[in-house]
């Protein structure tokens, strides 16, 4: 039978994958042995007797919490040192809690991506598209835990707001022009040894969900024709190599973040929450992948003109977009890594304003140009505004936030048509334009409109962050270098990876599979069996259910 033949053919690949995982775990064991965990701190002095509970209820909440709640040897009479310890612990507690909670919000963006991408693609591929979005969470996390986090953050050094990340102290650097260029970190493989630390774990969670956001972007642009096995390998590639390297250069203390300190270019390449690190990396990877894969059958006519291939579920896509917009309240405000940094209110408002203007301007643009306010482009427009404001959200006024989102809303329309009609790259969901193009606009806009009210000491450079229009021309230069680096590095690395994989194993399903839909050949069954399954299948399922013992007896007898 063909099915058993397919299973036999699949086996060697699985064995190879198992061997690779085993090797990686063996390396991990070696890393464990090299890096002993810190000795546990001396046991704390026995806790003082707790203060007696208040005898009266406190409905107004004004009397709850006071000197009795400060941990002190002599309850109710803390010393100055005890108060200072308590204040420091409380500060870090708020910041770790904020980082974790916003990380949980960002994790939920995976659901938003899954719904948006699946809604924008066809019903015959629904299980395949959905499960790529689902499994990238698990695969990406595993790869990031093995080595992605270490490459990205291994040389970060202490973050003052988080207390304990000083154990991430090992960055691989090379020396050029008498300056150090940080390339990648070398601490935190498997979160083992001395990185077994609460602050490091909080940072890992937050950075992991950001990486997974980037990793799930290409699944949209490459949907409806990508072999699932190839996707699995890709999931490890982006989470272990491309994403961590670029993220190290910007967020892990690497060379792009040092452009300010080393060469006087503003504060170095500044990307507050990831327009370039997350979105542009995802969008550029998507471009490379979609180019290597080629367009879906039926997307382009012989004369090169493009056909629309409508997605199967617009409400699903719109719900996904709203979930993403909600998750963005974690993405941007969480990137302070500090709940005590009250700039978060400015960041949150800027974020929502840009999402509004992005959706509005995409709506009016499509309405004016094509006669109707295209629903899928309004959805892309809101996401474009969010992607663009991600880098500058902490550094601009609400006016510029609205403008940045508005331009992104139109830019995403231009970019979608440029990618589709000029580059002739087939991107079913608009991921290349939303995340790649508008990600680039986001980091560049930071270099234009940052108004100097925030960011003192960012990337080790004194003074606040100022863009070109506020006297910071060199900041704009740093943003341009960061943008070009992101495109150049990620595109070349991803294209080579995809091309080599394609030549060696093949990335694309056969035309027969693509026409039939990927669900059955790739995943084993339809995502919507009652819509797509043969009628006999549905009938026999019903019949066997009725024949099952007990079920027939439960069925109520119909009177007529």
């Amino acid at each position: 039978m063909t099915e058993s033949g397919a299973i036999k053919r699949a086996l060697p690949w699985r064995i190879v994958a198992a061997v690779i995982v085993a090797c990686v775990l063996a390396v991990g064991g070696w890393v464990f042995a090299q890096d002993k965990p810190a000795a546990p701190a001396a046991p704390a002095a026995p806790a003082a007797a707790p203060a007696p509970p208040p005898s009266k209820p406190d409905p107004a909440g004004t009397a709850t919490g006071g000197i009795a709640d400060v941990t002190a040897k002599d309850a109710g009479k803390p010393t100055l040192t005890e108060i200072a310890d308590f204040a420091g612990h409380s500060r870090v507690s708020i910041n770790l809690m904020w980082t974790l909670l916003t990380g949980f919000l960002v994790m939920f963006m995976q659901a938003g991506f899954a719904l948006a991408e699946t809604g924008f693609t066809r019903a015959k591929n629904v299980a395949h598209t959905m499960m790529m979005n689902f499994m990238v969470y698990a695969i990406g996390m595993t790869g990031y835990w093995i080595m992605g986090f270490a490459l990205q953050m291994g040389g970060l050094g202490p973050i003052s707001t988080m207390g304990g990340t000083g154990v991430l102290d090992s960055e691989f650097t090379i020396s050029l022009f008498g300056k150090d260029f940080g390339l990648f970190g070398m601490k935190g493989f498997f979160l083992a040894g001395s990185t077994y630390d609460v602050a490091v774990f909080a940072l890992f969670l937050f950075q992991m969900v950001f990486m997974d956001t980037a990793a799930t972007i290409p699944t949209g642009a490459m949907a409806e024709r990508w072999k699932f096995s190839s996707f699995v390998v890709y999931g490890f590639f982006i989470s272990m190599i491309t994403y961590p390297l670029f993220a190290n250069w910007v967020w892990g203390g690497g060379w792009l973040s040092q452009l300010g300190k080393n060469f006087g270019l503003g504060h170095g390449h500044v990307d507050f929450a990831g327009s370039s690190v997350v979105h542009m990396v995802g969008g550029v990877t998507a471009l490379a992948g979609a180019m290597v894969l080629g367009a879906r059958i039926g997307k382009y006519n012989k004369d090169g003109s493009a056909n629309p291939i409508p997605g199967h579920n617009l409400p699903m896509a719109a719900l996904g977009c709203f979930i993403l917009a909600f998750g963005w309240f974690g993405f941007n405000p969480g990137s302070t890594l500090a709940g005590g940094d009250l700039r978060i209110s400015v960041i949150a408002v800027n974020t929502m304003l840009a999402s509004a203007s992005g959706a509005i301007f995409a709506m009016f643009y499509m309405w004016a140009k094509y006669g109707k306010p295209d629903p899928s482009m309004m959805i892309n427009g809101m996401l474009a505004g969010l992607v663009a404001i991600t880098a500058p959200c902490a550094f601009v006024s609400s006016f510029w936030a609205f403008v940045i989102g508005a331009f992104a809303g139109m830019l995403v329309c231009w970019s979608v048509f440029f990618v589709e009609r000029t580059l002739k790259v087939d991107d079913p969901v608009g991921a290349i334009s939303v995340h790649g193009t508008c990600g680039a606009w986001g980091v560049l806009s930071l270099g234009l409109f940052s108004d100097g009210t925030y960011g003192d000491g960012f990337n080790g450079v004194e003074g606040t962050v100022r863009g070109l229009f506020y006297g910071g021309a060199s900041q704009f230069v740093a943003q341009v270098i960061g943008t070009l680096t992101c495109f150049g590095f990620v595109f070349v690395a991803s294209w080579v990876f995809f091309k080599v994989y394609d030549l060696a194993f093949g990335m694309r399903v056969s035309p027969e599979v693509e026409l039939e839909g990927l669900d059955v050949p790739e995943m084993g069954g339809h995502g919507y069996p009652e819509v797509h399954g043969p009628a006999t299948l549905v009938h026999s399922m019903g019949a066997s259910a009725v024949r099952a013992p007990g079920v027939a007896a439960l069925a109520p007898e119909r009177s007529r």
Binding site: G311, Y370, D374, S376, M377, G430
Partner: protein, 112 residues
């Protein structure tokens, strides 16, 4: 006995059903179908591109009646399903040989 088969606009189904039940017709079968006639489909927009939908969604209403009721039923359907614009659909009438009520075994007009 005749079978009357009407292909109508989906949103006209309630009007047709009410017209027929109001005239004492006590049974009908409907199905969702797709097709085109002289209207030849229509175009829709997606992400700035136009595409043609050839087979438009329609409802098919099947009613079986005694010979004497055919003209009245056809007239009722024609009035109820009419909007006056292109794509209102068609009514087909065909002879029917036999009908059986499964529960009682009655045949012919008695089975209707």
């Amino acid at each position: 006995m005749k079978k009357i088969e009407a292909i109508i606009k989906p949103f006209k189904l309630d009007d047709v059903k009410e017209a027929l039940t109001g005239a004492g017709i006590i049974g009908m079968t409907v199905s969702e179908v797709r097709g085109f006639g002289r209207q030849k489909g229509h175009t829709e927009m997606y992400r700035g591109g136009e595409y043609t939908v050839d087979f438009l969604p329609k409802m098919k209403v099947e009613v079986v009646v005694a010979d004497g009721l055919v003209d009245e039923v056809v007239a009722l359907i024609t009035v109820a399903a009419k909007t006056g614009s292109i794509g209102d659909g068609k009514v087909f009438v065909e002879p029917l040989e036999e009908a059986v009520r499964i529960r009682t075994g009655e045949r012919g007009d008695n089975a209707l």
